[in-house]
Symmetry: D2
Subunit: 356 residues, 4 copies
């Protein structure tokens, strides 16, 4: 329970921001699959910080070391463990005393849950840094899915008020998928990049941060995947996606818009495309009764603004038991949405392999 | 996998719309808890159809029979099984041949998944009728939570374009909870009921249907509940909620709105209320880092319009392998939102007991 | 947790000896498999009491009613629930007061665990009667395995000091399997039946009971089934087998004898049988490294004597908090080994389908 | 599935004998528990090879590096990962071609299961070396249990035909527990050590190996722990114990002997010891109905002889598809029983914490 996901392919994530290392164990992988490690490293680079002004300038050398489960770049079938060592950890004893929880962070809730024993340095196990091994695991899962013709692509559907075009829900080209998969600022319509960067830069100048949304699509997935009720595709994906820090909402297909539609508008009519059953529209996001219908699986998710802002904020002093103010120092991403795109793809890949 | 939920208190739901019976097994219940069966039946009555024009006129006598796990209305600690027999099932052999899948339904996806062996009568295991045992299970879980001071209340936050007031996210009175818990058309602001009923009636007259949203709150929950990452409160609730037919979206706190906010707006400042740490606002829906912060847990979910509409719709004939049209006969709910309210409360209760 | 078994095909058993009914929900079954219900009922009849003097004369009409998951005797893929109603339950309020726990029974441990709220009538959920739905579930699983050529057969390998022949570990004929599968006093060498019955009758005359062992074999199972470490075949079968009341030991292949052997004796040499790899001996019981090697999987398990004996026994009075004596009235099986044979086959079938 | 154990405290073991490293992730640990790392290292030293002639002379420097989950020797509540690097691994490409499977090893079964992609060097993931991280995990769990007054001790109950005294099942002193816990050749009656070593030395001289048994006891465990049926104490311990390589049998209490006893002999009479309910005898091994009764939990398990012997053995050549002979070179433990004692204690600790 907690940092573990999956029944068929189990992901067990570990590590704390300022500990000795972070990593993941993946148990249940198929044997004999050749892994393209360059592709894995590319996905991890998309998530890594320090690339441009939207991201924190902190430098991480996130080269994962594979300890087990792989021989000559091929999966052995045994559990795969990959570790990223934290090289810049300062040694010496450390006062683990939480005084003033940062608003919007897990400082306070983790303090209560763990009775103050949790590692609070840099957010500890709740740090966004923990998503590095998730991207590693997702990249492995994605390569397994690609052998089945299944691809996953996500893009920044909005930052603040600036919106990208959305996917054409009934037709998503492999060209678009490839473009998004290799981009570190993934957009369908690249003409909005400038405006998005302005929003982020403006937040940064104001010592503030800004949120956004990410839209993700799974293409090439056959009809009949998923289980009824509690292991429906929506629930399985949602559980994985909410495992990503800062995610607060998810909608499949037309999502919340469906609530204002009539059945005659929302129902997706079936028709034959050759001998294949398709739907004319894809308001349901490729999922009916929790099971895929063969159309792209599409969902959109909301990323809250990075809680770390350097403006003065109100909080409490837990030692003195009084109200106080806090200013968070250090440099933080004014917008994590671009870096969260490969993370959303990764957890989606992890979710989908568990449905196969 | 599939119709089973939970690690601590396991819910295993069974049954098909036109089979011999539907029901649920609940394993892992605490022993010695006295159950108020009248309250359970009240919750089931809120879900039952036939109460008014928003709902199908079909009559169900959904009296659950408890086969095990309860003695003198007290939980024994052994698995509790409750069965609702389907009394009006016609006997005789039955041709289980799916020809034309209904748009928006699971007919097609279940047909593919089960190779045509699934029971298609009335939607089979995918029928909304399956939510009756879920409400039963949720009512038991809710009574366990109430002993800990935790209450759950949901309301119709919108039907089509008509909106109810939303919860005050920092303060939800027990009086309001009690009012909602006993209502079959649960609203915070009852003055919108008329307009909502008009929208539904209008859809019904047009042989159409309409969707809506449900907002749900958990009050009295202590800080420190939930796990980091994949067993965070959002993910655990989402997995349960997406187990309910027709749910396509969920957002916690301000949800999608957060994506257009700045960090300085979205962060909820901490402050002392006496010796208790609270937040001034509750944009995070009572959850930080996947863990409760002691404020009400609040989420909103979207219900798609009932796919069963009696208008002519385009579909395919799977036997003749050609495009065709379908007209669905029989009476169906033009809007399932009111009846879905106690179902959302029920799965939330099931999710929360599994987090305790 | 508790009365649930399995990850792929989940068995959830419910019911108490004197409650309204007992039964099982089986989730994860494949769709489209035609079930031979006569064969299911035959297996249940093998377990049912009242057939001869080794068994209790109490009459049970253990006809399971299938509520869901089956249509025209074919699995639909939805959860299958089967219920056996307890017809002779007396109504009326019941004093659930445990005074003197019966030695060797779960009376005391269940009392402590459930704080006295458990149903103590007839052993409640701990009653051997609960094995009836297990045999039902096992019979379904067994029919699924038979489609893959896998068969399961068990026999009474001993009652008290009287021993049956053991399986030839490298060659088990289908004829023998069929004979054992249809027998209610399953023996390889039927000439020992008389002596075994004498031992049982002697115990019965002395108001005593007697234990025994059951040997079980799985034939036709391919090499490569099972997982390393904690989901090895031994562990998975052991967990299922220890779910059966009164089982206190299990050994695979030569089991405890291996501890007195040398490696040169215990290692099973490989050789080709045509183009198939086999082993000359089968001391490992068909399992190496937790994974099947293609030889029959063989294990032996110990059944303790029925704790219900009508001799006077020492116990405590939990109300008066003093030592006392107890005499158990009613008729009980002086030996449950013959009836336990189909139960062991059933849990083995349930374990094996979860490994496939 | 596979190298993962536990629902409450999840153990995920990884690594291959000649890979980059082996280790374990432990998820679900309580926060705030101070760990005595010297004690952990002592337990690991008991398992480590090279101490005397019963064990392989290969030198391992099994110093675990804790990457996460611990701060200032105190559990943080986040997943704990410990890694043991394999320092003497030769680099360079490696031909992973299995030609002749060693009898009694997992070579053949793993080859079939993983289609030849598994790492076969030194047994890969099936190597006994994998028990080092298990002992690490078990040592952490054991320290958690000790805070509840629960202790675990095992001893070599036999090697070949030479037997140690067994535990007094109703009374096991803390002094004995402490002595066994610190011994690398753990015996109750140390006078048998000479004879045992003779048996091992004789096997070694004959290029053979020898098996044995280990008896394990859990003291200080309260009544009421465990679940009925499939999560009974026997099943939960058995699943953990069969996760240890070379284990082929387990029996609780009198185990197989019970099968030859009468109920009047095997039933353990209850009596008061002060105001505590105890049993006069402990034939049931402290478990009734799958639940502890407050007496020591006792079981015995069989370890098969090390399959690696340097005598010529018959096997098959999987490439040439013909029968052949094999001689295994290198030095191997002629008897792994002494080193398996702390491993059995470790998996028992892991099993018990999952029952609490």
């Amino acid at each position: 329970m907690s940092s573990t996901y999956g029944e068929k392919i189990k992901i067990s994530v570990f590590g704390e921001s300022h500990g000795n290392g972070i990593g993941v164990v993946i148990d249940g992988l198929p044997s004999g699959v050749k892994i393209d490690m360059d592709s894995v490293l590319l996905q991890m680079a998309r998530r890594a910080p320090g690339k441009d002004k939207t991201a924190t300038p902190r430098k991480e050398s996130d080269i994962p070391k594979v300890l087990s489960g792989m021989l000559n770049d091929t999966l052995t079938g045994a559990p795969l463990c990959a570790v990223i060592e934290n090289t810049n950890t300062r040694s010496g004893d450390y006062s683990n005393l939480l005084t003033c929880p940062r608003p919007g962070h897990s400082d306070y809730t983790a303090f209560v849950k763990y009775n103050g024993a949790n590692d609070i340095r840099g957010g500890g196990h709740f740090s966004g840094r923990i998503t590095a091994p998730i991207v590693f695991a997702g990249s492995i899962c994605r390569q397994i899915l690609e052998k089945e013709g299944i691809k996953i692509a996500a893009h920044i559907s909005s930052i603040g008020p600036v919106k990208d075009k959305l996917f054409d829900p009934v037709k998503i080209d492999d060209t678009l998928v490839a473009k998004l998969n290799s981009s570190s600022f993934a957009l369908i319509d690249n003409s909005v990049e400038g405006k998005m960067r302005e929003v982020v830069e403006s937040a940064r100048m104001n010592r503030d941060s800004v949120g956004g949304t990410i839209e993700c699509a799974v293409t090439g997935i056959k009809a009949g995947i998923g289980e009824p009720m509690f292991d429906g595709v929506e629930g399985v994906i949602a559980k994985a996606v909410f495992g990503v820090p800062a995610i607060k909402a998810i909608e499949f297909g037309k999502g919340f818009e469906l609530s204002e539609m009539l059945g005659s508008q929302s129902n997706d009519p079936f028709e034959y495309d050759g001998d294949r059953v398709v739907t004319k529209t894809n308001n349901c996001g490729g999922i009916l009764g929790g099971i895929t219908n063969g159309m792209p699986v599409i969902f959109r998710t909301a990323v809250k603004p990075t809680p770390s802002i350097s403006q003065k904020q109100m909080t409490v002093d837990l030692q003195k038991k009084e109200n106080t103010e806090i200013e968070i120092h250090g440099r933080h991403d004014p917008c994590i949405v671009p870096r969260a795109v490969p993370v959303i793809e990764a957890v989606t890949a992890i979710a989908i392999v568990n449905l196969m």
